[in-house]
Symmetry: D3
Subunit: 249 residues, 6 copies
């Protein structure tokens, strides 16, 4: 495990350990989607488009409930060096599938699917520019797009009760050079000893905790330090979501 | 063939027959690509990222020349209704392949590949929002991104001579309700009798002419009327490209 | 653009600039298809089989109209050197998809789909031997196979009105060593400055015009010279189709 | 097992039990392939193109020997009803793969691969029209194309010794309504109790014996009756091959 | 053909020419499948799981009959050196498809599909360890699993009559160094001149005979010697199947 | 979050909350692999084969270090109802890819890749029978197979120093009906509120923590209760691994 020096490591960005990047949530970013949000966590930019379609997947039919799913993609040159286009390679990679399954699970936690009716909402999260934390930005922005899509259904009187339960947001935390830090950017992410993605509900619950030791195992106290940082970051993210959506804090 | 009424049809957008949409070319739109341009033809928005990589495809190796290629994609909800993600379907559709082959041929016309040296420039054209004319916007914006990528190679002293030949732009023209019109938007595109994409060089040459009768065959005079509109639109597009790139007119 | 020498270039085949190759259209070439035509443009040989199937694609169901589509393939050793078998590679290439989309659009122009009833006619165009102009031969021969398939439907009393509108044919034209020429064979095709495929109706309309500058841009006068050649070649192709089908000229 | 009636069943074609269909072997059928043979077994027509390429598959490199392989395909409308195009489906079916593996093994038996040198000969067998027995026609015609390809290598002085060992041919035999019959056509093939493909060398050896009970098991005596028919048919096939190749009988 | 020495070749395993390996058939090997058999032919181990599902493939619907099919796979390290995982490569190889088609045909011969009712039984044959003869072990073990699955249907009163016809087993035979031998293991298989898989019914019929000359053609007398060995091996395999199933001999 | 009742829920298996299932680790389960372990966590059985190959993936070449990777698969009828074979579907699903990436990361934590030399060890984890916890069984058994493969390299003097660092094991923990429980079986897994997979090193470090709220969010205290159970289970798993490997405790 890590030997902490007492003095926190200097982050490449100059941020304080607990300091998250500048968050922006721009709604109605594109015209066609029922919910469309461009989310930025610093230089990480993800376009989250929520699309409403009547009907549900085959295995849910006739149960009177709805479904929420997500797809994730990265533009080939969102990254420092160009990556192959997944459509041209003929398949989505394991990382992509893993991330879009995570986003889908996270967003389903914010909705009561039984009240959604037989509608499917697909949240497409496409990374325009990547600088670490694309999946946590996608969840945080995707939740705002999802709320807009639900409002759209309500405005069109397609559903009568409100299926929205509570906001969901996500942040990455990690151990960088022995110091727990919040919202890792790419230089930190690639150099971190441990990296953890935390998905939270506004009421204080945990939806997903995915911690990975990249270089060295981590202990329970480090895990707790990271979760503390995630909680604090979560509070800020929920405030940004509320503000973007015009919800009272 | 068409029966023209004498009175030009009213375009859904209220534009004059020869009037193209508002053109925007925003350079350095993302951070990582050697050339990155967001191009808008009205509500059609395409992100064109030009990436430089050392080396050329296998069949060109050892010939001392470079290569320029393009890839095209559309975000699933760039359109009115969500389309399936090509990466998830496991293949690029015929329309996608046709378009990216067209963009590649068009952009190669603006460069002397022999002077490029053994570099490959890939221009990724990803449609953020679609309202007709995505391929012509992609060529027009892609050419600006390509020029930036070439400048990058020159700035880094990786090439010594200037491989840039001349600007290339593209516009769609068509016959809408009997009237030849320039730069069709989606409502026109889906209702047009004939649709033609024209790729031009600044010196007045034609690179590609692809005219398709959607509903009724067209005659030579209609073809000529469309080409006249394309020439006039081309002049405006070249001016926008020059301005964006800071080139003297 | 091209500098014409005044003296027309000598074509590798010794043909005159406007001279098309020997055209053959052999009907009932195979036993099973409702329409089966082996078309030859000189050494280019394409087998066009039109198959009638009850029903239409999902997106057309219930509209009371029919559908015509085309598929294109090339036997691996139709060409000078063996190409990979697309079935073994696991996908059709971009060129193949582009060509079969073109053939389908062209053939649909010769039929009133509303009168066809809910039948689908698939025209398979398989290149037995390639020497340039495979797509134009496929359209020209495919139209004859299509007429036979429609006659088959009429003979079997499956449709009551005649959905056939008019003949469609296609020819490639180009600029070879500065001279406009008709019906390019492979040596010309690979050396041409410009190559254009023109799809025409017998009544003089244009269905598709696809011109590509391979080596140098082309001007409006060259475009017009090529279209003149296409019109003249079209007249001969329609005569061949009429003769093959036993139609009065 | 079968109850034979004493009276041989009448074959749909009116042929005698031991009578094979009319065999045709047309050499130099297409221009480009080093060996090109159109083989007909009655209405079954297969185009066999043998292509010579320098080099061998990776796992054979440096062993100083050659390789012979085969690919098999069926045009979509070679059959009574149109089948899906394998290139469009994105994979070759199990039947296709099974057949092309059989053809390859059969053809390798006619050549001394060590004397072939580091060349690969690919024999493409494409079924133009199917009426039963396509794989046996492909082997019989493919062997003639292979001999032509080898002669091509010898004529070009690319190999010095003759790698050809002996002719290989193939025929299907079966039990149709209780009677052993040779060279089944499609109506027999689909109604046979047992179907067996036999690949033979001219010197009387067996290369492959693949017998399948379709409806009822078969006994040793039936197996022997079928092999007797195959031997007799083989003699005729070898004579056809010799005649086509201008070899003395 | 082979020159036999008079003295039979010594088999690598020290077995007599007619001696098959130790056969084991362990029923109820896994918990979930309706029939689950681990079959061993010496070191070759195949897990055969028979799964019952209501319904039949589309092309059989409404005919009141059932269907039996098989799938075959090999664990990547079942073999001496690791082979690629077919799921990761994205397709099943030709050998796999060929084998699973063979297993399916063989197993269908043991059942009266009309009496099975509209159920599909899928027999998955997964090779845990390979030492030659995996397909014959799969058929022999798969038939026992199939019987268990049928009993399961009868026990649950889902079918009323017994669709089981008779046992089916399979063995490989070959010519190894000039001597006919039964049940080849891997060292023999890779060195054999000829290899033949024989599928038999208990009543003495042949279902499949697939003989392949690997190195040299074989004659009728060798074929007969191999079939004699297969019959003798079959008798032993049926006895093992009967014992495993608790059937009277 | 959950309302705990004070009385722990009765587990379907009757186990105590902290009680893991019977663990078995059978080494040398198959013959060919350098390490071959059948691991059982109760009715969950996974065959873990570790294969050594010379060389490393392209991106690691020339760095003088080794690589460890894992592949995961499930036999189609390992589960209650048959699942489709991934090789037949043509791709590995997202769940499969996610699991095999996790196993690979986990196993790499037990080895010093720099000391491994340019060898790749692939650990194939194939689920023979599934009853929950297949990924944790795969990691626990895969680590034992990995140690055997490393010993194989040492015995063959292919590496000189010992790259093994420490044992790695994994267990699933969760909240079942309000009670934290260890090593969930399938009935618990499908009914759990929260499910967490924990990968640990013997020295007490955490490698991966992946907690997912299936039905309701979880709090920090629940997370801690689950981690306590994982630590305790880990101690037992390490003891089983040590015993299987003949290591002193």
């Amino acid at each position: 495990m890590h030997s902490s020096t007492g003095h926190p490591a200097r982050r490449p960005s100059g941020r304080q350990p607990e300091q998250i990047r500048e968050i922006r949530l721009i709604r109605e970013y594109t015209r066609h989607a029922e919910g469309s949000v461009l989310v930025s966590f610093g230089d990480t930019q993800v376009l989250c488009n929520a699309s409403v379609e009547a009907g549900v997947p085959r295995w849910l039919r006739g149960k009177g409930q709805g479904w929420i799913t997500a797809e994730y993609g990265m533009l080939p040159r969102a990254t420092h060096t160009r990556g192959p286009r997944e459509a041209a390679r003929g398949k989505q990679g394991g990382r992509t599938l893993e991330i879009q399954r995570l986003i889908g699970r996270a967003l389903r936690a914010s909705v009561n699917l039984k009240k959604l009716g037989e509608f499917t909402i697909t949240v497409d999260c496409d990374v325009i520019q990547a600088d670490g934390g694309t999946r946590t930005a996608a969840i945080t922005g995707g939740c705002v797009a999802l709320v807009d899509a639900i409002r759209h259904l309500q405005r069109d009187k397609l559903i009568k009760t409100d299926p929205f339960k509570e906001l969901v947001s996500a942040v990455s935390v990690g151990i960088f050079k022995g110091t727990p830090v919040a919202d890792l950017d790419y230089p930190e992410d690639s150099g971190a000893d441990t990296d953890m993605n935390v998905v939270m509900t506004e009421s204080g619950g945990l939806i997903e905790v995915q911690g990975t030791a990249e270089a060295a195992a981590f202990g329970r106290s480090e895990l707790n330090a990271m979760l503390d940082l995630a909680e604090s970051a979560g509070a800020q993210l929920f405030a940004h979501q509320r503000e973007a959506l015009g919800l009272r804090g």
